[in-house]
């Protein structure tokens, strides 16, 4: 079982960078009275903010009547949901069986070295978040990583780093 912790400093964080909750109105309107709406609402919220802001939970609860404890229960259960802000590019390195056999750990290590962050962390410039995932479904191209909607296959440590550097150059222009 994975354990996700809710950061205590959360309120502080969001005070500094306030979250525009009105962006959720449309989403909440759409799902308000549907049964089984909890997961789609959280997914929609994450699509808007990139993560699930602390204040968004309260607003969802207010509008839909869903209980906070149920929402946190679901948000901490599924790997998809993030409780912390993420970088602009989410680098998902596959650690599925096929990629593991083809030495996926070398890819993660090379990226960790280059970006100076560990699995689950975000670079200080907010450009990259590193995540390891299980199987992206391109196993025959193992080892594989995914950045945004783009999948890269047959990687080596250095080719993975090269892809990151190219993104960095693009972003700084």
């Amino acid at each position: 079982m994975r354990v996700k912790r809710i950061l205590q400093s959360k309120d502080e964080q969001e005070k500094n960078a306030p979250v525009d909750l009105s962006l959720m109105d449309h989403l909440l309107e759409k799902y308000k009275n549907k049964k089984g709406n909890l997961i789609p609402i959280l997914q929609g919220t994450q699509n808007i903010y990139g993560y699930l802001p602390h204040t968004a939970f309260a607003k969802i609860s207010e509008v839909t009547g869903l209980k906070l404890n149920e929402m946190y229960g679901v948000a901490t259960f599924y790997t998809q949901f993030r409780l912390n802000p993420v970088g602009k590019n989410i680098v998902k390195v596959c650690h599925g069986t096929a990629c593991h056999v083809q030495n996926a750990s070398a890819i993660s290590e090379a990226i960790e070295d280059t970006l100076g962050i560990k699995d689950g962390e975000t670079t200080p410039d907010g450009l990259f978040t590193l995540e390891s995932v299980a199987c992206l479904g391109c196993c025959s191209l193992a080892p594989v990583m995914m950045i945004g909607d783009n999948t890269f296959g047959k990687l080596t440590g250095s080719s993975a780093v090269k892809i990151l550097k190219e993104i960095k150059i693009k972003e700084s222009n």
Binding site: G36, Q43, T79, A98, C135
Partner: protein, 592 residues
């Protein structure tokens, strides 16, 4: 003369290999030269090891080009498409002559994958041209009763392709016989087994086949509403499913009074998963659709009695549904003629790992594992020695080389201690450490355990700790017995398939590779030279040129030596990171 057709394999794997660039290049060339050809996308052709793939079909036949990049695309365009001279060097399959890759296709029978890599998955007309939606038209047109449909499915002998292998016809009959005002039908597209991509390829390559299978299932059991539960990691599959659903609705295959039938109403929607392996388990999946934590519950009651929203529900796997239209159109015998006595038909496998021809194959049940790996799969990469194959992912087990003549059918595979599973086949060679493999799977199941059953939650963690210790060279005598003890306890006391099968990778590796465990624990050696902590690095004095690269890159300053003189690694300071080994240009670092 028919227009020349050019098909480009644009499934996720093709796109990852660069097929989109090839497509764009060919499109630009076609536009620039105003060449009168049909350029279109298709799904996974199966030959993932030759991706990107481009197929040219002209009057003389079909030519499949492999490993295409932008330059090769230009050449194919100039020579083949403009001057009608196929570029033989790049062809990996052709009707007119043999190629060295033909071995990949010999022995394959495509039923579930019948349209994958043939049609444009985003175009319903192409599916219809290939005989699509004929099965549901036949049922409604000839007024075939739901009992008869179920009997046909039963006669075909098809068993669930999601791993359990339960006869599909029987499952449908249970759901049919339970009377209720509302019933549901669900397609399980959660495909959580890491190392498997059959369902993704099907959804991306032929979504209508799965949808038609669901419509037939709904008719058979009397469901009005259906759900396709697809994992969020498959964005392209979700996109293509939604396109297909819209098209099917417009053509009257979904919605009210389907194809004019008075009392047949059925509609479907796609539900995105949120990343939890356990949600592949049917009761957890339903809890997830209901918006809760995906935790399995006790069965009985089975879903056929009380499933989604406590209504009778039928759930099947993607591949199971994809076979159904074929069975209805061509009759039960056309399917049951393939396979063995108790496992009928064909099965799709995803070949991955240390195999030369990684890709997607569909073979009749009864073929031996050896034939799949060494004939279709082309053997092991780099001619290394084949060690074992993992079937059934984290719930399955490793089958060693000496049992490779085992045939693929549910009972034979189960007899080895592995399971047939959903079709992932991960091939391992002599450089794969079996203890590390077991550790890898336990790490996976430990993280994915939902936490409901104590032994599954805590027991897998204890097993993982022991395995991690062993791979670090800190194994103790009695560890193997302790692992076995825990394994049986977890199997006995877990509610769902996750816990009941989680110890399988450990048990099968202990059964077949006990000596590797012992080498780790007693001799502190990793025979596959894969567990870093158990390796010793030393310098080969013959090969060392004294270039100092290793010493500069050593993070713990464990390497001494002067420029142009043989270097030396101090074992007490070495942290076994392997940096010297990867950096040395002269192969002078010996690993033992």
């Amino acid at each position: 003369m028919k227009k020349t057709k050019v098909l480009i394999g644009l499934a996720s794997c093709g796109i990852a290999a660069g097929a989109m660039k090839v497509y764009d290049k060919l499109k630009a060339l076609q536009d620039a030269e105003k060449l009168d050809i049909v350029l279109k996308r298709t799904g996974c052709i199966g030959m993932c090891f030759r991706e990107p793939l481009v197929e040219v079909i002209d009057d003389s036949g079909s030519y499949l080009y492999g490993d295409v990049n932008e330059e090769k695309a230009v050449e194919i365009f100039d020579k083949h498409l403009k001057q009608n001279e196929p570029v033989k060097d790049y062809i990996v399959k052709c009707d007119l002559f043999k190629t060295k890759d033909d071995i990949f296709w010999d022995g394959q029978i495509k039923i579930a994958l019948r349209n994958c890599g043939v049609i444009d998955p985003e175009n319903i007309d192409e599916y219809e041209e290939m005989g699509g939606y004929q099965a549901i038209k036949k049922i409604l047109g000839e007024k075939i009763s739901s009992e008869e449909v179920i009997q046909t499915v039963l006669d075909s002998g098809i068993r669930g392709r999601g791993g359990g292998g339960f006869p599909t016809g029987l499952k449908w009959r249970f759901a049919h016989n339970n009377k209720a005002d509302t019933k549901y039908i669900i397609c399980n597209a959660d495909e959580g087994d890491p190392g498997a991509f059959m369902d993704r390829s099907l959804l991306e390559g032929d979504p209508h086949a799965v949808i038609e299978g669901l419509i037939i299932g709904a008719y058979a059991i009397g469901a009005k509403e259906g759900v396709i539960y697809c994992r969020a990691e498959y964005p392209l599959a979700i996109k293509r499913l939604n396109i297909a659903l819209d098209q099917a609705r417009k053509k009257g295959y979904l919605g009210k009074n389907i194809l004019g039938a008075k009392d047949f109403n059925f509609d479907l929607y796609v539900k995105e998963g949120a990343g939890a392996f356990v949600c592949g388990e049917e009761t957890a999946l339903m809890a997830s659709i209901e918006g809760e934590r995906g935790m399995p519950r006790k069965r009985p009651p089975f879903p056929a009695e009380s499933g989604l929203w406590a209504k009778p529900t039928n759930i099947n796997n993607v591949e199971t549904f994809a076979n159904i239209p074929y069975i209805i159109t061509n009759g039960a015998a056309s399917y049951s003629k393939h396979g063995t006595e108790k496992s009928k038909g064909t099965k799709v496998f995803a070949l991955t790992g240390k195999i030369s021809h990684g890709g997607l194959v569909e073979v009749p049940m009864g073929i031996s594992i050896r034939d799949i790996i060494f004939k279709l799969g082309g053997g092991i990469i780099g001619g290394k020695k084949f060690k074992a194959v993992q079937l059934g992912g984290p719930s399955g087990g490793c089958i060693p080389e000496y049992l490779a003549d085992t045939i693929v059918d549910y009972d034979s595979v189960t007899a080895t201690g592995a399971i047939m599973g959903s079709g992932g086949m991960v091939v391992m060679d002599e450089t794969t450490c079996m203890v590390d493999m077991a550790r890898f799977f336990l790490d996976f199941t430990c993280k994915e355990s939902c936490g409901k059953c104590t032994f599954c939650r805590v027991g897998t963690k204890r097993m993982l700790e022991i395995l991690t210790r062993i791979t670090k060279g800190e194994g103790k005598e009695g560890d193997i017995q302790k692992l076995e003890e825990l394994a049986y306890q977890i199997k006995e006391t877990s509610l769902c398939g996750l816990g009941q099968t989680a110890p399988n990778p450990v048990l099968t590796t202990i059964k077949y590779f006990r000596h590797e465990y012992e080498a780790h624990i007693i001799d502190k050696k990793c025979p596959a030279k894969s567990c870093k902590q158990l390796l010793t690095y030393s310098v080969d004095p013959e090969k060392c040129t004294g270039c100092t690269v290793c010493a500069k890159n050593c993070p713990s300053n464990a390497i001494d030596g002067e420029r142009k003189k043989v270097h030396f690694i101090r074992q007490d300071a070495c942290i076994k990171c392997g940096a010297c080994f990867t950096k040395c240009k002269f192969d002078a670092i010996i690993v033992s």
